[in-house]
């Protein structure tokens, strides 16, 4: 053949520096008028002959010419100006040029996610992104990570962002978790090593395309894909040592005892001052006793814990031909936490298989992931009464002179069930070793993605995703009974005996499923030389739900045997099912003018199954505008390299849980205060009107948000600033509003209430030093968010968000900042004196007082990277300032006289300062006040610090300042020189040492607990504080990464 034959050349255009596919890039046949544009996934197809030249261009990238040699020509373009060319992942997993976005968007890259080898995707992001608050609420491996974008606006609904992985929603449930156990949140299951990047969309304009699931922001995770070429093997291995980051610091003046006397069997520090003299302690066993100085033991609490070890090993193999790619990866996490023994062991295995292929105009890709988790978790909080006690509560109740470390030998004659030193608590190591829980889960998630390119500017896309998990949890508490007459069985000096623990076994199963189907048509076209257009229309069908069932027995017949058969009691069982569907139609269109002005409009209509028919279809519109000023004005100077202004408005929503529109009955359960009566009784079933009153007129919660901002780059990109101001209103909140019991119900589910949120986010990037030897980059982030409750239902003074067991509450009050901590306060006479009762204790006022709110004044991050030749040093600080939280640890810490605050007046008798007593008439009415002279006697100083006997002042010691400054991360990475690496047949290798959560600084009033920990879940309620939960962890380790 003399003439070269025309054939169809296809391929994908990517960014060489970023690795993203570039949508809208121009592909031209050199010397002709023929040309096309790449689709939204960066793909093109053009007719050409072998030997002809294709010209690839895209604004912000260097133009590239390529000679046609084969049918598939993949091209990577190099950045010319970073900001103009940056391509990012947006909602629905669609890549767009960042300059076209009219809203704030932040991308976090794989290196940042993995540089300190955390075992979940979010562990290393703390303090790095403005407006993203990440905390590890529990100290255990496999425990939950709390992620909140901007702030909280939903009072009682969810504030959790939506997680999208490769275009498909990801289940982020926390099945089975409560204040006793944290079995982790499901988003933590993603193998961080396989993440290419995480795109964080905070505002409603960015997320409106997710409609009723987009109101709390969206976290879009894109995973790595195989690339054409020879097989690449990536291997990484990290070992991390964990230990306790922060423990409470007891006072070291007064020792064991109660009522200011030394008492051998007491669990408090209300005794005499330490003498440092040798004396007997603990139980009298066979007329013998242990001896040790009556002195405070330093580091006693810290020594209760061990070091833990986390191993994180990962291997992936990827590659492909011109038309097809593959990727296989395996990640193994193995962890044994800081508690002695296997009580907090955790392992996770992730397998990923991915592939893609192109055939003519048709392309397909798929991914399948399997996650197997296996973990032991230790109970926090208050143990189930009558059944068992918990490690952390028992630990708190050990006086300062008792060597906690020795108690590990919990079967020792002096530390066993019969002869533990006190009848008021149990040996914490008994709780640790004899009680426990095990959680095992299997999870599959993945997607199939089919594309058909109808014409150059029109592609059809179908995506089917699934996320299915099955989790089985077992929780056991061993039974024990102190022998009557033994030290714990009444033989102690006070004659008190500890009641037996009857023990229990609980078996629970949780199944979660989510199927997501999406059919969409994607358009991408240029009109003339000035206008370009891209857009899509689609429909989405989502079906998700959960099934759970469980059984519990109480009262073990044979101690130490944990099976539902092992009791004379019948098991109590539960089952619940939750199923919902969402059908949506959506569209999005971006119109660009002359490469500097972009208008995007989106709309979505949702039809939900959880609301009543006729009331369940809702539309969510949004629009955003981006104006690249530097381009429009033709600014080409190096001083001002890039200026973009942006503005947006969007509406999103949040529908309610299933089964919330019809009134129901419950199988009767009568709460007794302590304990319950549960039907059936004597073979008779009982059903009772449910306490919540439902209405069929329920609507979704609606969020309206506008946002303005700008991106500025100076000095050849060495200085950058990103500013955002947002204003968000969430109205029609779905509230379970308490109503007077005399209505026959306890609460009513209604739409009412509005929360307004305003905030600013600043990110400042700079490269102060840039030489061939040394480069220092830093990012400073600042965010300030204030949420105000603007209205509540008439007559409703507050919405209860959380509460402790004693009377303190976490509430929303109209006109006040969201999340007030309200608790008993003293009552005062008109002159402002504290009113005390006839015993000299302050009288609690009739109404709770406000101690503050949980919101930080600001959150700052300072994130650095200093490269010196092959060494890179990174370090990150986070400073969260302001706000309050409740500590249940502080409550018990005061009760046992360990808090340094209990040293007031050297524990001598005192009259409550500035106090008066009431003068009353015959019928008890107050007619005046007189000066109080009644002392809190020496023997009663302890009562002054109990929540029960001095309710008025207890919370002033338990509600603490939430501020902290943390050294979040330090990493030191050494990239091995190429010459060495090549010698072992590798292409890249690096070695690193790192630490996370290394140093914590707390304000002086807080000796008790890290404000980040909580066992009140991972949503708004968790901001109330904690109830005797596990301490936070510190990590330090080393990692090796090799690419072959």
């Amino acid at each position: 053949m003399a003439f070269a034959q025309n054939k169809t050349i296809t391929g994908i255009v990517t960014s060489q520096d970023e690795g993203f596919a570039i949508p809208g890039a121009t592909v031209k046949l050199k010397g002709t008028n023929q040309g096309t544009q790449t689709s939204n996934d960066g793909k093109y197809s053009i007719s050409a002959t072998d030997g002809s030249v294709l010209v690839f261009s895209f604004l912000g990238y260097e133009t590239k010419e390529v000679v046609v040699t084969k049918n598939v020509m993949n091209v990577a373009l190099r950045l010319s100006s970073k900001q103009l060319g940056e391509v990012v992942v947006t909602s629905l997993g669609i890549n767009k040029a960042k300059k076209t976005l009219g809203y704030a968007q932040t991308t976090v890259k794989s290196e940042v996610i993995n540089q300190s080898a955390p075992n979940n995707p979010f562990g290393a992001l703390q303090g790095k992104v403005a407006g993203v608050n990440i905390s590890n609420v529990g100290g255990s491996a496999g425990g939950s990570t709390k992620i909140i974008l901007r702030g909280y606006t939903s009072l009682t609904g969810t504030n959790q962002p939506l997680f999208i992985i490769d275009g498909v929603p990801l289940n982020n449930s926390t099945s089975g978790s409560d204040t006793n156990f944290d079995f982790g949140n499901n988003a933590n299951d993603i193998d961080p090593n396989q993440i290419d990047n995480i795109s964080i969309l905070k505002g409603s304009a960015a997320t409106a395309i997710y409609g009723s699931r987009g109101s709390n922001g969206v976290i879009v995770i894109t995973t790595k894909k195989g690339k054409s070429g020879k097989p690449v093997v990536d291997f990484s291995s990290a070992a991390t040592i964990t230990d306790v980051a922060f423990v409470y610091k007891p006072q070291d003046v007064f020792g064991q005892g109660w009522d200011s006397h030394f008492v051998l069997g007491e669990n408090g520090n209300w005794g005499p001052k330490y003498t440092n003299l040798l004396q007997p302690w603990g139980a009298v066993v066979n007329n013998t006793q242990l001896l040790r100085p009556f002195s405070f033991i330093k580091n006693n609490v810290r020594d209760a814990f061990d070091h833990g070890l986390d191993l994180n090993n990962n291997i992936s193999i990827s590659g492909g031909s011109d038309a097809s790619t593959y990727l296989f990866s395996y990640n193994n996490i193995h962890s044994n936490g800081i508690l002695p023994g296997p009580a907090d062991k955790f392992s996770r295995n992730n397998f990923t298989l991915k592939g893609s292929t192109v055939y003519k105009n048709f392309s397909a890709d798929a991914s399948l992931n399997y996650v197997a988790k296996n973990g032991n978790f230790v109970a926090t909080g208050q143990g189930p009464t009558g059944i068992a006690t918990t490690f952390y509560e028992n630990l708190l109740q050990i006086p300062g002179s008792i060597p906690i470390k020795d108690l590990r030998d919990y079967k020792n004659l002096y530390f066993n069930v019969d002869n533990y030193y006190t009848p008021y608590a149990e040996n914490p190591y008994y709780s640790l070793n004899e009680n426990g829980s095990h959680s095992k889960s299997d999870r599959f998630y993945g997607n199939i993605n089919l594309n058909y390119k109808v014409t150059n500017w029109f592609t059809l896309n179908f995506q089917q995703g699934a996320d299915i998990s099955n989790m089985g949890n077992r929780i056991w508490f061993n039974s024990n009974a102190p022998t009557p007459g033994s030290w714990v069985g009444g033989g102690n000096t006070e004659g008190q005996s500890r009641k037996p623990d009857v023990g229990s076994v609980e078996e629970d199963n949780f199944q979660n499923y989510e199927y997501d189907s999406k059919l969409q048509a994607i358009f991408n076209k240029k009109f003339g030389s000035d206008f370009d257009f891209n857009g899509l229309v689609g429909t989405n069908y989502n079906d998700r739900g959960a099934r759970s069932h469980g059984s519990t027995i109480e009262g073990l017949a044979i101690p130490g045997f944990f099976n539902l058969s092992n009791s004379s009691n019948k098991p109590t069982a539960f089952e619940t099912e939750s199923h919902r569907r969402l059908l949506a139609f959506y569209g999005q269109a971006t119109l660009g003018y002359k490469n500097y002005l972009y208008l995007t409009v989106t709309g979505r209509n949702d039809i939900t199954s959880t609301l009543a028919t006729g009331n369940n279809s809702y539309f969510y519109p949004a629009a955003n505008l981006s104006y690249v000023l530097s381009e429009a004005l033709g600014l080409k100077s190096t001083t001002v390299s890039y200026v973009k202004l942006r503005g947006s408005y969007g509406e999103t929503g949040s529908d309610t849980d299933p089964y919330s529109t019809l009134n129901v009955l419950n199988s009767t359960n009568v709460p007794l205060g302590f304990g319950n009566l549960q039907f059936p009784f004597a073979g008779v079933p009982g059903f009772s009107i449910a306490n919540t009153l439902y209405t069929s007129g329920l609507k979704p919660e609606r969020v309206k948000e506008y946002e303005v901002g700008g991106e500025f780059r100076f000095l050849d990109d060495r200085l950058g600033l990103d500013l955002t101001y947002y204003h968000k209103i969430r109205k029609d909140q779905i509230l379970n509003v308490p109503i007077a019991p005399s209505t026959g119900y306890a609460s009513q589910l209604i739409n009412f209430g509005e929360v307004k949120e305003k905030g600013i986010e600043i990110a400042l990037n700079a490269t102060p030093i840039k030489t061939s030897l040394v480069k220092w980059d830093f990012t400073y982030t600042f965010s300030h968010n204030k949420s105000i409750v603007t209205s509540l239902p008439p007559g409703l003074k507050k919405v209860l968000l959380a509460q402790d067991g004693y009377g303190g509450q976490f509430v929303a009050v109209a006109g006040q900042p969201l999340g007030l901590l309200q608790a008993p306060v003293p009552s005062y006479d008109p002159q402002g004196h504290i009113i005390v009762d006839s015993q000299g204790y302050p009288i609690a006022a009739a109404d709770n007082g406000t101690y503050g709110n949980f919101q930080h004044d600001f959150v700052m991050g300072f994130n650095n990277s200093v490269r010196v030749q092959n060494f890179t040093l990174g370090f990150t600080f986070e400073w969260d300032k302001g706000g309050k939280f409740y500590s249940g640890t502080a409550d018990l810490f005061n009760f046992v006289g360990a808090d340094p605050k209990t040293l007031y007046n050297d524990r001598n008798p005192f009259v409550v300062p500035n106090s008066v007593q009431r003068v009353t008439d015959a019928s008890g009415n107050v007619i005046g006040y007189k000066e109080n002279t009644t002392q809190i006697t020496e023997a009663n100083v302890d009562d002054y610090y109990y929540t029960t006997s001095n309710k008025a002042q207890a919370w002033s010691r338990d509600i603490l300042d939430r501020s902290f400054l943390k050294l979040r991360e330090v990493t030191l990475t050494y990239s091995l020189p190429k010459s060495w690496v090549n010698r072992i047949g590798a292409s890249k290798a690096s070695f690193g040492v790192f630490g996370r959560n290394l140093i914590t600084w707390l304000p002086s009033g807080n000796h008790v607990v890290d404000p980040e920990v909580s066992n009140y879940g991972t949503d708004l309620a968790s901001e109330y504080g904690e109830f005797r939960t596990a301490p936070p962890l510190r990590f330090y380790g080393a990692s090796l990464k090799v690419t072959f």
Binding site: N569, K570, L672, Y745
Partner: protein
């Protein structure tokens, strides 16, 4: 080109199918598989629920309140759960649970059951539910003075029910009982399957009539101080109509030692709180000892209980070593919960006879004492305080009756003793503490740690759960002010 059109067409058709079928189906899945809908409620499932709700609270947390305030028990020195009760330091955050459960649990269920029973012409359930409603309401009225009644249980249509005064509620309840008694309950026998749902009498409607009459008698006698004419007319009407009263216990005996099936006060104080809190009070123990009352072993598990003087939980071991080995009340998981005992029925009749001559008080008093001891399989003593004085002085006779009632109530329904004292003044309030020389055993002493300046508690303050949600909640009244039928403070 043709093929492509077919593809687009089929996708469009698929889309249309999803829309048309999907929309309909989508809303079909929102009926809860977890809970029956409310229109499936029947009296057969609501009534036993209500009965155990009443029993769980009146025989649980409120039994603790009544037991401490009637000075059977006091707070132990080694724990602190009930200090606020023992110090008369109850505030609006306290005891919310019992108020909530009795209103939105027991009473709401009785009310719906009455509606359902009337509609289904189940007059037997109508009577049973009405009597239990009245019994439960009376507890609330006697503790709180005024509560919502005429506007209660209206759900969303009235979120702020007004409070009715106690007298109005009493009259309303009495009228409701009369209406139920006038129904065809006697000719509507309880079918065998339903008789199991009656934990009190197994569907014996004669006993329900007796329970109704005894309850009416109790309510009329409550009014002797402040509505003497109503009280007298009511009691006389009962006798004129030859009303029959309980000669059995109105009692719930379904508790077993199994998870969530235990006697409420046992589950609360022993199983869950480890029996660390309640201890024998010297007030009651001293009276039992002074009268050699054999029930001491039934009440405290030993013939020689070690008591604590009322409210002296702050004593140190050096001050009062015996307090640290004080005896706990003898509760068992299988104990029944009494609503009205046979003994109480007879003591009520004795008082009716004493006041109005409608029956012979001595006969009823003796029957009461016999029944009270028979409750513990003991022979009734025949000397001392167990003998009816037959005095010309009403107060002397009344005192004998009320002391015997007081001695019969612990471990069953202690609140009644507290109400009796507020109504009659017996046992008397002691001017001195029980540690002082000259203390008369059995007289109530002011709690050592009382915070009400020497005044005894007479009522509860409204719980925060009602006050903060119902704008019609009346202003707070000190807990030392008697309720509407109590002997007014001097």
């Amino acid at each position: 080109m043709k093929n492509r059109n077919i593809k687009i067409k089929s996708i469009f058709i698929l889309g249309t199918l999803i829309v048309s079928f999907g929309c309909k189906k989508i809303t079909d899945i929102n009926t809860s598989p977890n809970n029956p809908s409310i229109d499936k409620a029947t009296p057969q499932v609501l009534f036993p629920s209500g009965v155990l709700s009443t029993a769980g609270r009146v025989g649980g947390e409120l039994d603790i309140l009544g037991g401490i305030w009637s000075q059977y028990w006091t707070q132990s020195v080694a724990a602190s759960q009930f200090k606020t009760i023992d110090a008369y330091n109850l505030q609006r955050q306290d005891l919310n649970g019992s108020y909530n459960e009795l209103f939105s649990g027991a009473l709401a269920d009785y009310q719906l059951a009455i509606t359902k029973a009337k509609a289904a012409k189940l007059d037997n359930f109508y009577l049973m539910c009405t009597v239990m409603k009245a019994y439960t309401f009376e507890v609330l009225v006697d503790l709180y003075d005024k509560v919502p009644y005429t506007e209660a249980f209206q759900g969303a249509s009235n979120l702020n029910p007004k409070f009715d005064d106690g007298y109005t509620i009493y009259k309303g309840l009495l009228a409701e009982i009369d209406a139920a008694l006038a129904s065809g309950y006697a000719t509507a026998p309880v079918v065998a399957a339903d008789s199991k749902t009656d934990f009190l009498f197994g569907g014996d409607m004669d006993k329900w009539r007796q329970f109704a009459n005894t309850l009416k008698l109790k309510m009329y006698l409550r009014m002797v101080n402040t509505h003497a004419a109503d009280a007298e007319a009511g009691v006389r009407a009962l006798y004129a109509a030859h009303a029959d009263f309980l000669d059995d216990d109105a009692v719930v005996k379904v508790f077993i030692d199994a998870t969530d099936q235990r006697n409420p006060i046992y589950a609360y104080t022993v199983f869950n709180l480890g029996a660390n809190d309640l201890r024998a009070s010297n007030t009651f123990v001293s009276w039992l000892r002074a009268n050699n009352d054999a029930r001491i072993k039934n009440y405290f598990g030993t013939n020689t209980p070690t008591p604590i003087d009322q409210g002296f939980y702050t004593a140190t071991q050096a001050q009062h070593p015996s307090y640290y080995t004080a005896t706990a009340p003898a509760f068992a998981a299988t104990d029944p919960v009494y609503f009205i005992t046979k003994a109480e029925s007879h003591f009520l009749q004795a008082e009716a006879g004493l006041r109005y001559g409608v029956t012979t008080p001595k006969t009823e008093f003796d029957a009461g004492v016999t029944a009270a001891f028979a409750q513990y399989s003991l022979p009734a003593p025949t000397t001392g305080v167990y003998v009816y004085p037959n005095s010309a002085d009403l107060q002397t006779n009344l005192k004998a009756i009320i002391y015997q009632k007081w001695a019969s109530f612990p471990n069953s329904h202690t609140l009644e003793a507290f109400f009796d004292q507020e109504r009659t003044g017996y046992p008397e309030n002691s001017a001195i503490y029980s540690l002082d020389a000259g203390y008369i055993p059995g007289q109530w002493v002011y709690s050592k740690n009382g915070v009400t300046a020497g005044r005894f508690p007479k009522r509860l303050v409204y719980p925060d759960s009602e006050r903060s949600r119902n704008t019609n909640t009346p202003p707070e009244v000190p807990i030392t002010v008697p309720v509407w039928w109590g002997i007014p403070n001097k």
